[in-house]
Every structure is written in structure tokens, then in C-alpha cells.
């Protein structure tokens, strides 16, 4: 709930903290994400009253309550559609959608892909914990095959989505991945998302320490992080491992891990956020880390494209209609072309 401290001094993370007690399980990855978002907000230079957080249902979707901005905790899977209506009518607002892997990809899958193709200028934070947290531990569309959960005592048999491949397939214009456990990277990506004109989709690997603890350990823990993750930088070669000792080289359409020492720098795959072809392959770096010879998991901005936003095109049509026909005159409309008068 907001108080009337409306002086115009520079805002801090604290100004974005609501008075509601945060109610996630102790140790939940959501805490870190909340912190990074609250930290980044003041840096965006957007008046607090022009920011809206919209969420669906899930642990992650409790997020808006904790942000001292406008917010709506809506119904399961529909935050994307609600945000579409809001943004279509209030293009000047900064709209953030917070959603979970169930909320966005299971019940909300359809609205998500349609939002992406329409390219509303909103930001989607997809908290992927590969589980249904709020309903206490059923598998989600991102849970790996074989996982034992409350609803799959003998293991998941559904092939999981590759979320970023789906999102790219749905014509997303900004596609990125980060994680709860790398605050610096996450903040960087959040700022990039804000900057992008169009739908920014940030998948955030988030640990649910109660129902799916350690799902992303291999990417987040020091011991394995360097070997298993690939941090993308525009214009830079794809390198990873201790001191960048490893890199990615394309062999036809097949990316292969090489020792950077063994190849010339320009033979390595150079990351280009604007290359759709590269992006289509890059989102497919989705191997099971247990697999022999697997590729590392990329983090960072996979792809960015400039495409007009729905709300802009909509307003343009309205302006064009006024230019062509003049501002609507209600009396003239009601009268129409063939009226008659009875005296």
C-alpha cells in the first residue's frame, strides 16, 4: 500500500518495496529476483506511478504485491492477455509481466505466443523453476523427462518444452535467459529488457528449494558453472570454461565444443544478437548436462529484433482515421445517411 511520500528525490530500491510481508518459503530463489528488480527499477528513470506489474497465479505471481508500483495479481495464465489490453490503451506505461513456467507455458501458453507475435512493448519475467510451486509440487511443461513429482510417481513422460525455441518460433523480438543466483547478470538483463522496444522475454532459472531443489545447481554453483554455462556477449566469440578455455565452432549446422587454444579466434562462432539464423541454432543449446559431449547452456541475450509494436500501429490507425474522416462526431454518426424527420 502506498503512502504519500511523493517528493521527487531520486528513488531507491526501498521506494519500490511495498509494505506487504514477503511470503515465499525461506531460501526460495524468488527473493533474489525480487531484490534485483527492486534494485534496477530506480535506474530506469521511470516514475513509479507509471510502472505496472501484472502476474498470473503461482508462487512467482505473488511478485506484484511486493512492488511499490501499480500491480495486478490476476488469474492463472492470463497476465499476458491482461497486459495486452492495458498496454494497448496506455502505451506510456511501463508494463512488467511476472509469470511462472506453469503460468506462462502451461495454462497461459496461447496468450504468451500471441503476445509475442503482436510484439507489445512489455517485459516478461518468466520464473522457470521446472515445477508447480504453489500447488505443492506437480511437474510443469519444463520439467525434464523422468522427474519424479507429486503427480508423476513413476517419472514425467511428457517431453518438455524448450521455452526459448518456442518463444523464437512465436516470433519473439527479444529473447534472453538469466538466473536467480547471478544478481549482476540478472540486473544487466533486466535493464536490457526494459530498453528493448517490443516484447522482452527473460527466462529466469529460479530455484524452488522446497519442491525442486537444485534443478539448476549445475549452472549456478561455482564448481560447475564455468564449465556448464556460456555467457553470451554481442560481437564476441562463444567461449566458456576456466579462463575461456573452450569455445563453440560450427561444423555445418552442428555446433561443436573446441579448445580455444586449438582454433583461430575468427573460426569460433561470433555471437550476433541480430542474426535470426544464429539465434535459431543457439536456442537449441539445450542438452541434458548429464549427456556425454553436451553443449553448455547459454545465458544472456540470444536475439533482438526491431519490429513495430502493436500499440503503436493501433494508435497510428486511429490517427490516420481522424486524418481521413475528422474526429468522430457523435451526432453525425447517430443520424447516419438516411434519416427522416417526423414533425
Amino acid at each position: 500500500m502506498s503512502t504519500t511520500t511523493s517528493t521527487d528525490k531520486a528513488l531507491t530500491a526501498k521506494d519500490f518495496t511495498s509494505d506487504q510481508e514477503v511470503r515465499w518459503c525461506p531460501g526460495c530463489g524468488d527473493y533474489s529476483i525480487l531484490k534485483q528488480v527492486q534494485t534496477v527499477m530506480p535506474e530506469l528513470g521511470i516514475p513509479r506511478e507509471n510502472i505496472v506489474f501484472v502476474s498470473g497465479i503461482g508462487c512467482s505471481s505473488r511478485f506484484p504485491y511486493y512492488m511499490e508500483t501499480y500491480g495486478m495479481h490476476s488469474i492463472h495464465g492470463r497476465a499476458t492477455a491482461i497486459a495486452s489490453g492495458l498496454k494497448a490503451t496506455r502505451p506510456e506505461l511501463s508494463v512488467w509481466i511476472v509469470t511462472g513456467d506453469g503460468d506462462a507455458l502451461s495454462i497461459g501458453g496461447n496468450h504468451l505466443i500471441h503476445l509475442l507475435r503482436r510484439n507489445f512493448n512489455v517485459n516478461i519475467l518468466l520464473f522457470n523453476n521446472q515445477i508447480y510451486g504453489l500447488t505443492k509440487g506437480q511437474y510443469s511443461p519444463t520439467s525434464p523427462e523422468g522427474q519424479v513429482t507429486k503427480s508423476t510417481p513413476m517419472g514425467v513422460i511428457d517431453h518438455p518444452f524448450n521455452p526459448l525455441a518456442l518463444i523464437l518460433g512465436a516470433s519473439g523480438t527479444f529473447i534472453a535467459r538469466s538466473m536467480d543466483r547471478d544478481p549482476v547478470h540478472l540486473r544487466e538483463i533486466l535493464k536490457r529488457a526494459d530498453k528493448h522496444q517490443g516484447t522482452s522475454l527473460v527466462e529466469i532459472y529460479q530455484n524452488c528449494n522446497v519442491f525442486n531443489d537444485g534443478a539448476f545447481e549445475i549452472f549456478t554453483e561455482k564448481a560447475s558453472k564455468k564449465q556448464e554455462t556460456l555467457f553470451l556477449e554481442h560481437g564476441k566469440p562463444l567461449v566458456f570454461g576456466e579462463n575461456g578455455s573452450k569455445g563453440i565452432k560450427l561444423d555445418g549446422f552442428t555446433p561443436r565444443v573446441v579448445n580455444t587454444a586449438d582454433v583461430a579466434a575468427d573460426e569460433l562462432w561470433i555471437h550476433d544478437e541480430r542474426d535470426l539464423g544464429k539465434a535459431t541454432l543457439l536456442v537449441r543449446f539445450f542438452d541434458d548436462p548429464a549427456k556425454e559431449g553436451h553443449l553448455p547452456r547459454p545465458f544472456g541475450v540470444f536475439y533482438e529484433e526491431d519490429r513495430p509494436c502493436y500499440e503503436t500501429l493501433l494508435q497510428e490507425q486511429l490517427d490516420e482515421a481522424v486524418a481521413q474522416k475528422g474526429k468522430g462526431d457523435l451526432d453525425a454518426l447517430l443520424r447516419g445517411k438516411s434519416s427522416w424527420t417526423v414533425l
Partner: protein, 617 residues
């Protein structure tokens, strides 16, 4: 020698145009309607589309109809039966003969009765209705429209395929002659319609005139009819269809409320035409959004409402079913939201192109939990304007989702409408929250006024940042609350908020008949015209009957119970299996009687009159 036709005066006439969906029947009917309206007749029309997109030519499912009732006295329905049946082919005759009055006139395009057409219409082998005795109780006017149309255009250089497209104009011209009408409005329409292809305007005009001339020159003596203008209340009128009036009502509401209309919808018969109409008026700042499904349609509208706009969503039964979860959210958020249901035959996909009023209980009870939503219903095509406007006023001023019910019969029907001036419309006052907080004071988004409505606190308002959601909320603060007493308080408050609307709407009036008596016919929605007609006839016969028609279905007008108590019997005719009757019986504990018709088509006045006679014996 040309014989002059005689002229006879009539109070009112029902014409049914029927033909193949490719025959331009709807256009023909609409042109006659507009001409009659401009002439000053009272009118009521109803199109009867085939269910199939364009079923095979000449077949029964392919028949398209347009029924028009016009008169010099008040007209409330498209008519139970028609005086004149215009048929372009055999299937049209077969499908519609049952609608023709005994002794009525059939105008038949002979070319549409060749063996091929007879077979497609499933006439038995060898049968030829134009020749055998089957039509002997009717007056049959046979015209070889195809040949005459081709003749009229001979030398125009057009192929027969193109020529034949204007056959409907020949028929229209002839019917104009029969009823002594001016061709000018149609000629003007043709010019406008074919602005970019003036040669087509010419062709059509030529055929239209040929049809008219055919009446003048025909060698069979024929009667012409005169239907004088009706005495309507002074005012400026136009002809309007239900969905169009709904669209205009929305535009007007946005204009008067000085807010942006956001129309989130997903196409569905018979609601789509509202979308089509609204999308033509972007210069009013109207934002239409064709969503990916009905859930996105309603939730996008909720998003727009949250942002301070007039969020509207529309569908028909199956689509409304999909919106019910989100409507529950809107009830919790206490935001204005208008849900339009243009009802059609159900259940499930049902009869998409037919009418029914079987979604009342869905509107009233079709959500999880205690989830009250006000409901208003239009009673005729033109009434959609005022009723949807009123629905929007309630939504905004009482901060609540509202259902507006229409149906396929109203949506596609048309009638003259006394056009209101923009200024005469009741203002719609949105109550946006402003930041008037003292230092340290907290904003209370769920604080209420005397209507129990909260303020509309929209993003962009500095200092009023707050969060809303679908979990139960603490009174006033709107914070999440699992407290038992608070939940009961909030459930009761949301119910009271809707009930309170009864204090802000007119008392229920008797539309027709005495304030007390043997029988009250209580209606809602599109049965208005037919009840009006039947009750008028019964009253003229001296029966003790009255008619009241509900616009407000939730809450009911405050005086309804008392009003009902003034009659021995309450009869509730509905195009469903009995829905309003359930609510009235529950609420007022009166033994209200149901009269139901569940055929996808309206009651006839005769059916209703029979029932009135029964109850006033």
C-alpha cells in the same frame, strides 16, 4: 392494351423475400426496408440466414430469407405470417410456404423452377408447384425474372453471369411498383455502393427500373397497394439493426464518459457484427482488439479497465462460457467491465444462426463462488442503444462488471429509431481517485461511497500505487486477507453493492394494460414486440391483461414484487425452457407460469394470444 392496376389501401403488410444465399436477398430486403422507413412507415424486419456459409446453390439449406413488416400503424414484430412471399427459386418456396397467409401472394421467379431447381429443392419427381394445384389457395404471380433481366441489359455488353447478378433488382423494382414506392433511395444507394464502378450502378439501376416498368406494362391486371406513413412520435428517425445500435451505444457511452473504448473480442455468430461496426469508427478513438480467444478477449478488456478505459467484451453463449472465470476476477477487482452476450440457440454449438434467450441463468449464476453481476437486457433492435448505454453507466458508476444481453433476433432485426441528440444522453460519471492523502496516510483502494462503489485508481496517478487481485481482499485496504469474518463481510458487501443498484434505476412500469387484473405477462428481451402485439389485441378484446417488460434482470427494480402482487396470474413467456420464471418464483414465491418456445425462432403473436386467452378465461 395495358390495363391500369387498381390501388387498395392496407394498414400493414408483411413481405418475405426468399432465395438462394447468392441471390442478394438481404440487400433486396434492406433496400425495401429503408425506402419504407424513409417514406414514414413503421417497420420491423428479420433476416433468416442459412446456417451454412454458402450451402450449395438451389438447395434447401441454401435458402436465405428477409422478412419485413411495415405499416401505417405501430409495428412491433416482423409478423407471424407474410402477405407476400417473393421466391427466387423452388427451394425458397418450399422452405417458406408455411409462412404465407392463406390467400397470400406468391411472386415467383419461374426460371428458378426448372427441373434442376425442383430436384435440388427435393420436390418429388414430376412435381411442379407452379403448375399443379398445390398453390391454389394463393395468388400466384409468375415472372421470368432471368429472361426479363437479360432483356433489360441486352446490348450492355455484359455476360449472362454478370447480368444475372442483378436479378434481385428486377424483383425489387417490381415490388416497389406494387407498393407504389419511390426508386430514388435505392438508386442513390447504388451510386454510393458502386462509387468505384459506376457502370455497375448503371446496370443495376436499369434493371430496377425495368422491374418497376414491368408492373406498369404487364398485361395481367394487378392490384397495387398503398400503405400510408405511420404516425410516429415527432423526431428524427433512422432504420437501425440491433448489433449496429449496440455498437453506437458503446461509442456514445465512450463519447459521453470522455473515455477510450476498448473492445476485446473474438469473432462469433451472432456477435461479430458489433466488432465489424466498431472497427469502422476508429476516428472516435475506439480500440478494437481481435484477441486469440474469448479468455484473452475478456482479460484484455479487464487490463484496459484497470488502465482507466471502458473495457468491453462480447460473445455468444459458448464464448461467454469461456469468460466466466475472468468475470469472477473482475467482480473481485471491482472495475467497470461490460460483457455483451448476443444469445443464440444452445446448448454447446447448438444453433449458431438461430435465436434463443437461454443464457440468462448463465449470466446470473454461471460463475464459481458468490459472484454477483448486474444484468440488463435489450428488448428490440433500437433498444440496444439505450440499454447498452445504461449498462455502461452502471458499470462505470457502480464500479462493477455488467452483463448486457441481446439475442440473434434483436441483433439482426431492424426497426426505425428515434435518434437522440448526443446532448440528451444521460452523463456517465467516472469517479477517478485523486491523490488527496495526508503525509503518512495510506491509500485505501477499497474504500466505498454510498453506492458501495470504490474509486477508480488508475496507473499514472502518483502516490496511489496499489495492488489488486483475485484473492479475497481486506475491506478498505484491499490487501490479501484470509480472515473468516472479513470474507463474509466482503461477500455480503459485493452482493449489497449490486443490490444497491436498484436504488439508482427506474421503478418497473406497466408497458400496456391495467395496473391490476387477472393476468400480467412478464417478459424480458426480444419477446417484447410479440408480447406487445398479443396483449394489445387481447386488450382490444376487453381481456384483463397487462404487459410489463424487464430491462433490469439483476437487480430487479425495487417495486417488482409489489407490482406482481397486483395480478392473479403471472405468465412468463421465454424462448428457453424457463429461466426468468425460476428466478421470479424463488424471489417472490409466486406461482408464476412459464410459456416456452425452444425452436430457435420467436413466438408468434398468435401463440401468445392463445395463452393469454387461456389465462383470462
Amino acid at each position: 392494351m395495358i390495363m391500369k392496376a387498381s390501388t387498395e389501401e392496407k394498414q400493414n403488410v408483411v413481405i418475405l423475400f426468399a432465395g438462394d444465399s447468392g441471390d442478394g436477398i438481404q440487400l433486396t430486403g434492406t433496400q425495401f426496408t429503408n425506402t419504407a422507413a424513409l417514406y414514414g412507415n413503421d417497420i420491423s424486419t428479420f433476416p433468416n440466414f442459412p446456417a451454412e456459409i454458402r450451402a450449395p446453390q438451389g438447395t434447401l439449406p441454401g435458402v436465405s430469407g428477409f422478412q419485413l413488416h411495415f405499416g401505417s400503424t405501430a409495428v412491433f414484430t416482423p409478423g407471424d405470417f407474410c402477405d407476400v412471399l417473393v421466391v427466387m427459386n423452388a427451394a425458397a418456396l418450399k422452405a417458406n410456404l408455411k409462412s404465407l397467409k392463406g390467400g397470400g401472394t406468391i411472386i415467383a421467379n419461374t426460371d428458378g423452377f426448372d427441373p434442376k431447381n425442383l430436384k435440388l429443392a427435393k420436390y418429388p419427381d414430376g412435381a411442379q408447384p407452379l403448375r399443379d394445384e398445390s398453390l391454389q389457395n394463393y395468388r400466384l404471380i409468375e415472372i421470368d425474372v432471368t429472361k426479363l433481366t437479360r432483356n433489360a441489359l441486352s446490348g450492355s455488353g455484359l455476360g449472362t453471369k454478370e447480368t444475372d447478378r442483378s436479378k434481385n433488382m428486377f424483383v425489387l423494382g417490381f415490388v416497389f411498383w406494387m407498393y407504389n414506392r419511390s426508386l430514388d433511395p435505392t438508386i442513390e444507394f447504388l451510386k454510393e455502393q458502386f462509387r468505384k464502378r459506376p457502370e455497375l450502378a448503371d446496370t443495376n439501376e436499369k434493371v430496377l427500373r425495368a422491374g418497376y416498368a414491368y408492373g406498369d406494362t404487364t398485361e395481367t391486371p394487378m392490384t397495387r397497394y398503398e400503405v400510408k406513413p405511420a404516425v410516429l412520435q415527432p423526431g428524427t428517425y433512422r432504420n437501425i439493426m440491433g448489433n449496429q445500435a449496440t455498437a453506437y451505444g458503446l461509442i456514445a457511452a465512450a463519447d459521453r464518459a470522455k473515455l477510450t473504448l476498448f473492445y476485446g473480442t473474438y469473432p462469433i455468430t451472432p456477435a461479430s457484427d458489433i466488432l465489424h461496426e466498431l472497427s469502422k469508427h476508429k476516428n472516435f478513438g475506439i480500440k478494437t482488439f481481435q484477441a486469440e480467444d474469448e479468455i484473452a478477449a475478456v482479460t484484455s478488456a479487464i487490463g484496459a479497465s484497470f488502465g482507466g478505459n471502458l473495457g468491453v467484451t462480447a460473445s455468444s453463449g459458448p464464448g461467454i462460457a469461456l469468460k466466466t472465470e475472468a468475470i469472477g476476477l473482475a467482480v473481485m477487482l471491482e472495475l467497470p467491465l461490460l460483457i455483451i452476450n448476443v444469445q443464440r440457440g444452445g446448448p454447446s454449438t447448438g444453433l449458431p444462426t438461430k435465436t434463443e434467450q437461454a443464457d440468462l441463468l448463465q449470466a446470473l449464476y454461471g460463475r464459481n463462488g458468490e459472484c454477483p453481476v448486474p444484468i440488463v437486457a435489450a428488448h428490440s433492435p433500437s433498444d440496444c442503444f439505450a440499454t447498452v448505454y445504461e449498462a455502461m453507466r452502471i458499470a462505470v458508476e457502480h464500479m462493477t462488471p455488467v452483463f448486457f444481453l441481446s439475442d440473434g433476433y434483436i441483433a439482426n432485426g431492424a426497426e426505425p429509431w428515434s435518434i437522440p441528440s448526443a446532448d440528451s444522453l444521460q452523463p456517465i460519471n467516472a469517479r477517478f481517485a485523486e491523490n488527496k492523502l495526508q503525509e503518512g496516510e495510506k491509500f485505501l483502494p477499497y474504500k466505498r461511497n454510498e453506492k458501495l462503489a470504490r474509486e477508480w485508481a488508475i496507473p499514472g496517478t502518483k502516490g496511489l500505487e496499489h495492488r489488486v487481485g483475485g484473492i479475497e481482499k481486506e475491506a478498505e485496504t484491499g490487501n490479501i486477507s484470509y480472515d473468516p469474518d472479513n470474507h463474509e463481510l466482503m461477500v455480503k458487501t459485493r452482493a449489497a453493492k449490486v443490490d444497491t443498484i436498484a436504488n439508482y434505476i427506474p421503478k418497473q412500469a406497466i408497458d400496456n394494460g391495467p395496473e391490476t387484473g387477472k393476468l400480467l405477462v412478464l417478459g424480458w428481451g426480444s419477446t417484447y414486440g410479440v408480447i406487445k402485439t398479443a396483449v394489445s389485441v387481447a386488450l382490444a378484446e376487453g381481456r384483463s391483461v397487462a404487459h410489463a417488460h424487464l430491462r433490469y434482470l439483476n437487480p430487479f427494480p425495487a417495486n417488482l414484487g409489489e407490482l406482481l402482487s397486483k395480478y392473479d396470474t403471472i405468465l412468463i413467456p421465454e424462448m428457453n425452457n424457463g429461466q426468468l420464471v425460476k428466478v421470479i418464483r424463488d424471489k417472490y414465491l409466486v406461482d408464476a407460469k412459464a410459456l416456452n418456445k425452444i425452436k430457435g425462432i420467436p413466438f408468434t403473436a398468435a401463440e401468445l394470444k392463445n395463452s393469454i386467452d387461456e389465462f383470462t378465461k
